[in-house]
């Protein structure tokens, strides 16, 4: 399960929460941060994550992708030449080739993940993937390599990866968005690009930080006219009550603007045919925490559980 979205929409928290839900349901789960920014370590409140998975909760393992370690592992597993000891000082060299040769860096990351899938080391692998601008080149790397590289081990290795990545039963992409203009637009663009440039299938759109409605339509007319009774409110609650009313209006405006953007997304999903046929929008409410860490992950996990499966998992308590 690849989790992506525009920068700043809460991608890492959502990825961590999906992994937590799966682990709580007893599935052996690996969550992997691809861009090595350390956000996933913050989400679980663990010091630092490396290439070797750390068990951050029962059945829940977390790692940070590192293409050099991935290359090392790949060479150890697949290329039996007795040179490994001597590659060490060539790390920067490798970095360079990986930068220069299209898709090499990406395929080492994707390859590691596909390898874990193939070997069935985990029941579920959640990828805290690159932001939507980069995910296509990441997930599309095996295809790029297959097109560009004519011979060699890497070329031979692309087919089994594509088999995994292109199989909707095994690989899905969840796009995280917030109810704002740019994230929604980027989500729509990305869903189209995933179809056109990769074989991967979108499996969900997750709308994060959605404000719940505060007022019914009839209540809203009361809110709109409340200024006419402001003096009565001030008598009881003091002059600062105007700020309290403003806050409610501000929240309500944000909610309705956001709802318009989500409507646009919903309409697009409905009319997009094969790009996102029947793709659900899963809603995670605004938690008003604006932080990251285990508490938020846990709350988002709960919200996802409520949305997807109203029955609580048997025998699993809420963490928090």
């Amino acid at each position: 399960m690849w989790v992506t979205g525009k920068g700043g929409v809460g991608k890492t928290t959502v990825a961590a929460a999906i992994a937590e839900v799966a682990a709580r349901h007893g599935r052996r789960t690996l969550v992997c941060e691809m861009d090595a920014k350390g956000a996933l370590a913050t989400a679980f409140d663990v010091g630092e994550l490396g290439f070797e998975p750390t068990e951050v909760a029962p059945q829940l393992f977390a790692m940070a992708m590192n293409t050099e370690d991935s290359l090392r592992e790949y060479l150890r597993l697949f290329v039996r030449i007795p040179l490994l000891g001597r590659i060490g000082p060539l790390a920067s060299t490798f970095d360079f080739v990986a930068d220069a040769a299209p898709g090499v860096k990406e395929i080492l990351g994707v390859g590691k993940l596909c390898y874990e899938v193939r070997e069935r080391h985990y029941d579920l692998i959640v990828v805290d993937a690159e932001a939507s601008g980069h995910i296509v080149s990441q997930i599309g790397a095996p295809k790029v390599i297959a097109d560009l590289v004519q011979v060699g081990l890497v070329r031979d290795q692309t087919q089994w990866m594509l088999d995994i990545l292109d199989d909707p039963m095994r690989t899905g992409v969840a796009v995280v968005t917030t109810p704002e203009e740019m994230p929604v637009t980027e989500t729509i663009d990305l869903l189209g690009r995933l179809r056109d440039e990769t074989g991967a299938h979108a499996s969900a759109v997750i709308a994060n930080r959605v404000l719940p409605a505060m007022f019914s339509r009839r209540e809203q007319t009361v809110v709109d006219r409340l200024d006419d009774a402001m003096d009565l409110l001030v008598d009881v609650a003091g002059p600062a009550v105007a700020t309290v009313v403003d806050a409610a209006r501000l929240t309500e405006t944000r909610r309705s603007t956001g709802a318009d953007h989500l409507d646009r997304l919903r309409q697009w999903l409905e009319s997009s045919g094969d790009v996102a046929d029947g793709l659900p929008i899963i809603t995670v409410p605004e938690l008003f925490s604006r932080g990251s860490g285990p508490r938020v992950v846990s709350l988002v996990a709960q919200a996802l559980t409520d949305e997807l499966d109203p029955e609580p998992p048997s025998g699993a308590g809420r963490r928090g």
Binding site: P102, E181, T185, D228, A240
Partner: protein
Amino acid sequence: MAELDNLLASREMILVAGSGGVGKTTIAAALGVAAAQRHKGRILVITVDPARRLATALGLDEFGNTPVRIDPKAFVAAGVKVRGEVWVAMLDTKAGWDELITRHAPDDATRDAVLANPLYENITSRFVHSHEYLAMEQLHDLHATGDFDLVIVDTPPSRNALSILDAPNRMIEFFGSRLLRWLTVPYRSRLFTVASKPFYQVADRVLGSRFLQDIADFFVLFQAMEGGFVRRAKEVEALLRDPRTAFVVVTTLETAPSYEARYLARSLIERGMSLGAIVANRVLPAALATSAAAESAAALLEHADRELADSVAARLDAPRKQVSSVLEQIATRFDDVALVAARESDRRSELADLAPALLVVPWLEGDIHDLAGLGALAGHLRNGG
């Protein structure tokens, strides 16, 4: 306030940086409008990826690296008074690279061979942070033409904002790297180089010699342009430290973006680059975080189902039940917003310690997608110290 006006008057180049999703592009455009409101002259805003409606508002229906002037009549129609000219250009990475190659190629044959190389597009779109580098190339280029008094660049979203600052040096290192030399040594003789042997054996097995040869061919062509590229990269690097250049770091007051903003601000200072201002975008009103407001909310909750509901219902001629429910909602939901506002004010003071000016832009209704909106935003920026 005077801070922004001074910044816009004293600098020739402004780089707008920050993490993704904080409204960087809109702020960059608004800075351009703010400059034009205050000063005469020609102002250029280079944007990266504007939202479609904003692009349309800026007259950027056709994207290209050639600046387009925003029609002065459009400003008049939007009720925005400007004294200067506002020009906009949209960064086109592919075209930018083609221009660079054309400029630095020693002859037409090299140029054509590079542009036609199957790896060219792939490589330029990936390596050495080419978007960041190109954004600054463009800045350098347009500044060098002398056509503009002020050039404002909206930097591309990047995983790490620092990669912007490092991009020119990476380009220089790239051309100086041992590997580039290895790659461009004729393939046969390379096999006999003891130092590179293990690497090539591995690379050969993994990538295949044919592919390696393709890469080598490409870099042989590329190396012919080394002199020009390195010289330019050095100029771009110097431009980043030039006293006429300032950075404006944009952030929201959410945890992750403001953490990144602080990190970026400190790094700029460490590197001897000029941090002109930090813009805190989409900020909730500070009044929300006051104890007076919290007490009001508590009192409102207490009275939501008492005589207050009766009197308000009578005044508004609305059903009492609705009124009472509305008052209760307003009072209970206030805590959430107040909590966010309180955290925001914390981060605000952390940021204020770092920058010579912290410009606070309030949360505005809806997305900004026309000149009137940009004009309003520019006003907030100029008054937001």
